[in-house]
Symmetry: C3
Subunit: 139 residues, 3 copies
Amino acid sequence: MDFIDITNEIEKLVKKSKAKNGFIIVFSKHTTAAIRINEKEKGIYKDFAMLSRKLLPTKQYYHHNDLNIRTENLVCDIGASDCMNGHSHCLHLLMGGTAELIPIIDRKLALGIYQRIFLIELDCPRRRKILLQIYSNEN
Amino acid sequence: MDFIDITNEIEKLVKKSKAKNGFIIVFSKHTTAAIRINEKEKGIYKDFAMLSRKLLPTKQYYHHNDLNIRTENLVCDIGASDCMNGHSHCLHLLMGGTAELIPIIDRKLALGIYQRIFLIELDCPRRRKILLQIYSNEN
Amino acid sequence: MDFIDITNEIEKLVKKSKAKNGFIIVFSKHTTAAIRINEKEKGIYKDFAMLSRKLLPTKQYYHHNDLNIRTENLVCDIGASDCMNGHSHCLHLLMGGTAELIPIIDRKLALGIYQRIFLIELDCPRRRKILLQIYSNEN
């Protein structure tokens, strides 16, 4: 599990867009990587990893990982181990986090003082795509 | 628990709407049925049902199910057993999932390769209503 | 943990806004307070508090609470105990709930019969700020 703070990149794109007031959609195109807003503090990342291991031990039996019974989506884009991520799918289903929506006010993300936007990798490391859409009140 | 893939129906409505670029709001009008994006694979549904039973056994005590102390919302629309869903409410509170928001690009849902939109039934089977709103950049 | 029903206040603001059709964004500016839609019934609040104590006991070790190793965000706005909220951050990360988005139809929130909008306090009681943005189809 990895927490990647993407707030600065998003903030830059908001400024570049010239939207004064509106909102931005931050949309993960993946089923095992979540977008989430929380505090930037390393201890929290460890605490959350601990919780997720408690809820969803990687060593436990997952139907999704059982290639003797599984028939769907067997072509894995990064090798066979790609399929061994039943725990990641379950965590993503529980957490949600396909998208966050953040208001824009005066050309800035209207985040609270401790709020940062993260891509949380719930699977083994891989390339991820995030789709951003900015909506402005002034068309 | 049941996973109902509603992606095709939503995709059809997006095409019909003639919105070229924008987004769609998929909103569940229920407190024990969630909208969620994840992979379409039967094993995952079973793994998630397993997790939810572990977190929230149906046989456990729930204040919501205790008709000796409960005073609110006692009129149940599908009979008395309708009230015995404390575990469903707790799971919905934990998961969220009242709504998903999906970008539309070039008249299509901008979903990732494995992303499908589900209505997840957290309660016993019943009729459900989903509200859709499509927003287009070109007014 | 506390459930604060903010539906009526939001409904009033929607009416005042004169938006006929559109949607409202309800955005929490905090990392330990969630916006969530569910049923207004006291038993559910207790059941959910029970679940959260089971998942994240306050007495357990949290890296976030360990001031011997922690280096980030050590200035606490309401005193030292403010930092002892590792469990609140973990729950917020799991739940999400920074924002809810609710469709507006005919000047009203398009909520289902049992749906109410809550601010859920995951931390000790404190002042909270919620940002609302209303979007209307008729510019």
